[in-house]
Symmetry: C2
Amino acid sequence: MNGRHSGRPTLEEVAVRAGVGRGTVSRVINGSPRVSDRAKAAVEAAIAELGYVPNRAARALAGNRTDAIALVIPEPETRLFAEPYFSDIIRGIGAELADTDMQLLLTLIRTPKERARFGQYLAAHRVDGVLLVSVHEDDPLPDLLEQLEMPAVLNGRRSDLESVSYVDADNVGGARAAVAHLIDRGRRRVATITGPLDMYVARARLDGYRQAMADAGLGGGAAGGGATGGSGAGEELIAAGDFTEEGGRRAMRELLARRPDVDGVFAASDVMAAGARAVLREEGRRVPGDVALVGFEDSAIARHMDPALTSVRQPTEEMGRTMARVLLEEIAERAAVRRHVVLATELVQRESV
Amino acid sequence: MNGRHSGRPTLEEVAVRAGVGRGTVSRVINGSPRVSDRAKAAVEAAIAELGYVPNRAARALAGNRTDAIALVIPEPETRLFAEPYFSDIIRGIGAELADTDMQLLLTLIRTPKERARFGQYLAAHRVDGVLLVSVHEDDPLPDLLEQLEMPAVLNGRRSDLESVSYVDADNVGGARAAVAHLIDRGRRRVATITGPLDMYVARARLDGYRQAMADAGLGGGAAGGGATGGSGAGEELIAAGDFTEEGGRRAMRELLARRPDVDGVFAASDVMAAGARAVLREEGRRVPGDVALVGFEDSAIARHMDPALTSVRQPTEEMGRTMARVLLEEIAERAAVRRHVVLATELVQRESV
DNA sequence: CGTGATTGTGGGAGCGCTCCCACTAGGCTT
DNA sequence: AAGCCTAGTGGGAGCGCTCCCACAATCACG
């Protein structure tokens, strides 16, 4: 016994057993077509008999790749992912990776120090690709990835001009549908509580609101897909939140002060909707009687609110799947073709409107 | 340009630059004490100048280890982890691993096929250790791990006799405190909605309930830490749920039918508490006026229920941290010393009792 | 029947580390 | 002064793969 030898069979042993050379075994394992059926069968039999499993480290070393991708989560965001959103994304990614032998590395980035460390990581090519969740407008990581020519896929995008590959939900369409629904139900003074407008996702949802209002001839919102430019009448129906419950509260109070006659509210997140709902209760407004309410995300909170919150669902698991698929494609073809995928959202109707 | 050479400096280049041998550089990197200060300084300078980062694959191949641990999540459970619970555990693990250069591999196990695959994985020693989340009573994975002598730490345990290392919350104590609180507030006919009793965690929480009832001289629950044996009077105050909202509903209806005078309910999870709360509302019972309610987990749902739910908080992030720490220790010392850690819980008081 | 392409194959030469053996230089003992 | 530690060091020999070159066998063609 060698002592350091782990007892696992090696490729070499498989070769001996199958009566072929190392090269042939390697070719079989990697699915090369340049192998005779006879040799292939012999090798496969030997692999089965020996219970051979290739050594990942050796492969990585010799092949200059890692068969691993990193899922990067900036720490401040982690809380947001307490929602099904995160686990659904992960489930999707996992499902797509299941048939591959890609490993999924979980990388939390908390501090600037860890960020730098991760930069080194990437530079040292310790992963074949990167999935990046919850990117901020000013996040330099995507640019770093691009510069290193590291295959990468974002969940969401930083702006309309995003160059790195991404998979995003149709935030504009979802918001538009939500607001259109409020209007369909007869609401006329429909307000919105936005997310922080330095986030693309917040701007997109605001755009959707504006479009729906303009479609209905209400408010002064600018239609069209442009940036958040409009400042016509109706701006007083727009209050800025920050995706937190407290932000939702503040924004709702503000709206109530500015337009006591508001009869519908589209909150750009369920959490903010929950905040708004609390304020409405305090102020003695009934939901949906006096004020109808729609959220965004279709989170657990939406289902457990009283009344249950109508909300826009994102195809979260599908987004995860798609992210993984796109990344694998990008890794496979070495050319840097960027892909931009936008998946449809769906309005889930409950009792709040 | 070599083409296959990635351009990253190697240990050899560092050695040349520092004017020392390969062995010395390796010793510096691995923190061996057998290096002179002079050599160490020279090597460190060379590393900094060259921006050297060790090649993980080469290390793994030569050193017969991987510097990676797997976080294993059985798929059926994933939904449960939509709650902060999961992300908190991960955050804790991440925090503990941050200063290490251990990688965290995320492994979802969905199908028996994937389970088998993961078995191979382990057998091939592709990770140095395993963190296992949400183990079921009959889960064979921990036994497999033990048999392979693979360092492993469970989140929770399968039974009181668990041999594999684990980190668990004090479920008995938490439940006991919750029920004691109900009793303190003057409730006398306190019922409990249990989880599936083939899960240890559900039995432990039921034990806590029994102990608190016995302490107060109420019900016929058996005190003491033994198994779920008691079947005295008061059993009609115990209804079985399954940790789902629907299960909570069913159990609450059952309780109401058996004991219409029930005035307090301890639900073994927030989700079941939400189900119970819905039924209570339907039946026209006020919470906490007519029936006081306590949950377990202190999830987002608890905060957003109406009234906000008093619940037992687990030190989730701390559990994650501890799991990682225990695993690292187990990996470091090659001896198979099993560790069992139980962390205290805390009652978070809100409006439902 | 030669010439050249094509298919299949074996095995050498690394990939970048760690392990460990051999060796030097100096300090301590007796 | 001779011996014997010990601290410190260099570098050979792998770890288990992939890549690729060389070569044999087979085939198609004129």
